[in-house]
């Protein structure tokens, strides 16, 4: 029996052992409410403060600029709605890209009911947002721009520094947000230098921390409102008791991931190079999607004339976990908005598989993946709808 191979790290990662130990400890002993004034409350509060300090050190910002949330989706919701409702007196125009995460796309779309007017930055066929056009999209009525740093489906990197500079030079009142869920602890960020970035989202389970916890960086002075009702804490931006154990777990994960960032990047780059070269050499009819300038953690491979779901099912049955770039069923055919934005040709768009690596993966695992795909592919390509 061969062991399980996990190549879906962009969806979620395995928590570090240290994270699990720390969380168990906090659950067991530090059960107080971090807002209570007694001893147990203070204990918990100390844990929260320490985690905020750790994130602030990594991001090079202040601790009171860190707002803990229940994950990336909440951070993105807070960033978008919070800014929109705080600033809509100045205008209703929002700019985002065509391939953001659903928590951005859907949230912005939802604001249409409150008169939001949306412009989209186009994506080129390499999967990079065309920020040259950004300047033309900005109007006097623009109040908010959201552009992701690393795309979750193809791994391409957007030049956030340049994008935010373009935005601020044109109109300094616009709030600039970046969804950095896929980039945090994988690529260095220095918010002390990136002065034009006002808001940044991150999520614990993408860097070997726990699920259900994330954070939003809110630069001091940003005009933003809370989105949940209740007793407001954390700079009056979020209501709700803090998840002490998850935040403690996130802190440990961030510490370890940040410390090993360079080494991990080096290792995963090697793995990725090996994967891309070997699979291109050994398997015909494939395309590696995305720009050269992408994180090595994510690789989208498009196979001609197959249904990615079938390949995924097959690999899953032999304990290899990957994800598919498109979903299909006999009732309806829907393609990922990212792939559509990238304009992939029809013979390829059904057959996109996403391999997302972590530092835990090995060359042997990649060998096995390629071997298994090679074995099954001829059959899958033979069976097509006629």
């Amino acid at each position: 029996m061969t062991s399980e191979i996990y190549f879906d790290n962009a969806a979620s990662t395995k928590p570090y052992d240290e994270v699990i130990i720390r969380m168990t400890e906090v659950l067991k002993y530090n059960y107080g409410n971090s807002l209570s004034v007694h001893k147990k409350g203070l204990e918990a509060n100390k844990i929260i403060k320490s985690a905020a300090q750790t994130l602030a050190d990594i991001l090079k910002c202040n601790t009171n600029e860190i707002i803990f949330t229940a994950g990336g989706t909440e951070a993105n919701n807070l960033a978008i709605k919070g800014t929109y409702y705080a600033n809509k007196g100045r205008g209703h125009h929002i700019i985002t890209s065509l391939y953001e995460h659903a928590s951005i796309m859907a949230t912005i779309n939802d604001l249409k009911k409150d008169e939001a007017d949306i412009s989209y930055i186009k994506i080129d066929n390499k999967g990079v947002a065309n920020i040259n056009t950004l300047s033309n999209l900005i109007t006097e009525k623009s109040i908010f721009v959201s552009l992701m740093k690393v795309n979750n489906e193809v791994g391409t990197i957007n030049n956030i520094e340049l994008a935010s500079k373009i935005v601020k030079e044109k109109n300094n009142n616009i709030v600039f947000h970046t969804d950095n869920v896929q980039g945090f602890c994988k690529l260095p960020v220095n918010l002390n230098k990136l002065k034009n970035i006002d808001l940044m989202s991150l999520s614990g389970h993408k860097f070997n921390g726990p699920k259900g916890v994330g954070a939003l960086f809110v630069r001091k002075g940003t005009n933003i409102l809370p989105m949940m009702n209740g007793n407001l804490y954390q700079n009056h931006l979020r209501a709700g008791t803090l998840n002490t154990a998850a935040i403690a777990g996130l802190e440990i994960a961030a510490m370890i991931s940040n410390k090993n960032m360079e080494a991990n990047l080096k290792k995963v780059s090697k793995l990725n190079k090996y994967l891309e070269e070997k699979i291109t050499k050994e398997i015909d009819g494939i395309k590696i999607l995305g720009d050269k300038n992408k994180v090595p953690y994510i690789t989208d491979i498009a196979f001609i004339n197959i249904k990615s779901e079938v390949l995924l099912n097959h690999l899953s049955a032999i304990d290899i976990c990957v994800s598919s770039g498109s979903a299909c069923s006999s009732r309806k055919q829907t393609y990922s908005h990212v792939l559509t934005a990238m304009d992939i040709s029809t013979e390829y768009i059904d057959g996109v598989i996403r391999i997302s690596l972590s530092h835990d993966n090995t060359f042997e695992e990649i060998d096995r993946l390629i071997k298994e795909i090679k074995l099954i592919l001829p059959m899958l390509r033979m069976i097509r709808r006629k």
Binding site: K307, E309, V310, L311, L312, N313, H314, S316, A317, C328, S329, S330, R331, Q333, M379, I383, R384, R385, K386
Partner: protein, 393 residues
């Protein structure tokens, strides 16, 4: 005074000499339904089953609703069991009326049945006397013999039972009394409803599902099992036979004309299901087909599919509209599961333009390219069985 559940059963009563067979099947099914829910004693008299000496954490209403899941039952009532003594009957009837009155009912009648013919006064007199007492005991509570809001029922047997509420059962025949059938269960809306309807006629079902990994997902398989769990409530548990169909499906795909893929696949599935039926000692197949619903359910297609097997095939939905089927699916709580989007993967095995009026000679000719006997044999040697218990909801 003791509270008991009085179960009435219907169609079985019309049976002749074989009535005890149906009754004992019904009693078995009730026992299984209550297993683990309560301790009780069960007594049967003519047309009635009494659940007595109940010890349970569940309320009488909950237990009644559980019993109503058993096919063959007309109604369940929560009744007071007392000694057959007129004064006691009168007192209990007044208590029961008080409850009904407090619930807002303002018209009533008293209906007395007297299996114990030696009891005096007679049925008519009991109704009259007690009706009069009730009328006098409450303000504005009047008798209406035609359309009363409630009927106080008094059944005088060895003991006497007084009640006024009847929780309606589903009718039908006790599951198992009609023998066993194989249900071709897909993940759709129709087949679970078809299964429910045949179980209602007393057929004990085992389900078979055709799995085509990797072309169908694990989720699709899980979904079928979830549907079978819902059916298990009515079917006294359920066995689901999951047949590995990939090799067969690929062979059909390769060797048969594409416009005929679906119809030939269905013929092979019927053959496999029939073989499974032989093995499991089942005597019928059950499908969710409905005339004209899709290409494979035109009269011509049904004829061609049907002719692949000799066994009787029940298609209880054949004359129903989709909306009628959906209404039943909602009632038996399978609808929300059925509409989950884990379809058989993609559209690979579905021809773009399937034949809607296949001819048997042309299909038989196409089938010369494949070895159906061998396919059936292979399927029968490669299936797993999941056994679902009759779980309490």
């Amino acid at each position: 005074m003791e509270i008991v559940l009085l179960v009435k059963y219907g169609e079985i009563m019309l049976k002749g000499l074989n009535r005890p067979y149906f009754e004992s099947q019904l009693i078995n099914n009730i026992r299984k339904k209550l297993d683990g829910l309560c301790e009780f004693k069960l007594k049967k008299t003519h047309g009635r089953i009494f659940i007595e000496d109940i010890k349970s954490d569940a309320s009488y209403e909950e237990l009644s609703l559980k019993i109503c899941e058993v096919f063959g039952i007309i109604s369940v009532s929560i009744a007071y069991k007392i000694e057959s003594d007129f004064e006691l009957i009168n007192e209990t009837a007044l208590n029961v009326s008080k409850k009904a009155y407090e619930e807002g009912n303002r018209t009533f009648k008293v209906d007395t049945k007297r299996a114990n013919k030696s009891f005096r006064p007679n049925s008519m007199e009991v109704s009259k006397l007690i009706g009069g007492n009730i009328f006098e005991s409450f303000e504005d509570f009047i008798v209406d013999v035609r359309k009363p809001q409630i009927t106080i029922k008094i059944e005088i047997r060895e003991n006497t039972y007084v009640y006024y509420k009847e929780i309606k059962g589903q009718g039908g025949m006790p599951v198992g009394s009609a023998g066993k059938g194989i249900l071709l269960l897909s993940g759709g809306i129709d087949s679970p409803v078809a299964g429910y309807m045949m179980a209602k006629r007393g057929l004990k079902l085992e389900a078979c599902y055709f799995h085509s990994h990797p072309y169908t997902t694990e989720q699709a398989k899980e979904k079928v099992i979830d549907l079978a769990k819902k059916l298990a409530i009515y079917n006294n548990g359920m066995k689901v036979h999951i047949i590995n169909f990939t090799t067969t499906q690929l062979a059909i795909y390769e060797k048969c004309p594409h416009a005929q893929l679906t119809i030939i696949m269905r013929r092979v599935m019927m053959r496999v299901a029939q073989q499974l039926a032989f093995k499991k000692n089942a005597k019928a197949l059950v499908t969710g087909e409905s005339l004209g619903q899709v290409a494979s359910q035109t009269l011509e297609s049904l004829f061609v599919t049907n002719s692949s097997v000799d066994m009787v095939v029940f298609r209880p939905l054949i004359g129903m509209d989709k909306i009628e089927v959906i209404n039943i699916a909602k009632k038996i709580d399978t609808f929300d599961t059925s509409i989950l989007p884990y379809e058989d993967c993609c559209t690979i095995f579905v021809a773009k333009h399937p034949e809607t009026k296949p001819r048997i000679d042309s299909i038989l000719k196409s089938e010369e390219n494949i070895d159906i006997d061998k396919m059936v044999e292979e399927c029968m040697s490669d299936y797993e069985t999941v056994e679902l218990k009759n779980e309490n909801r």
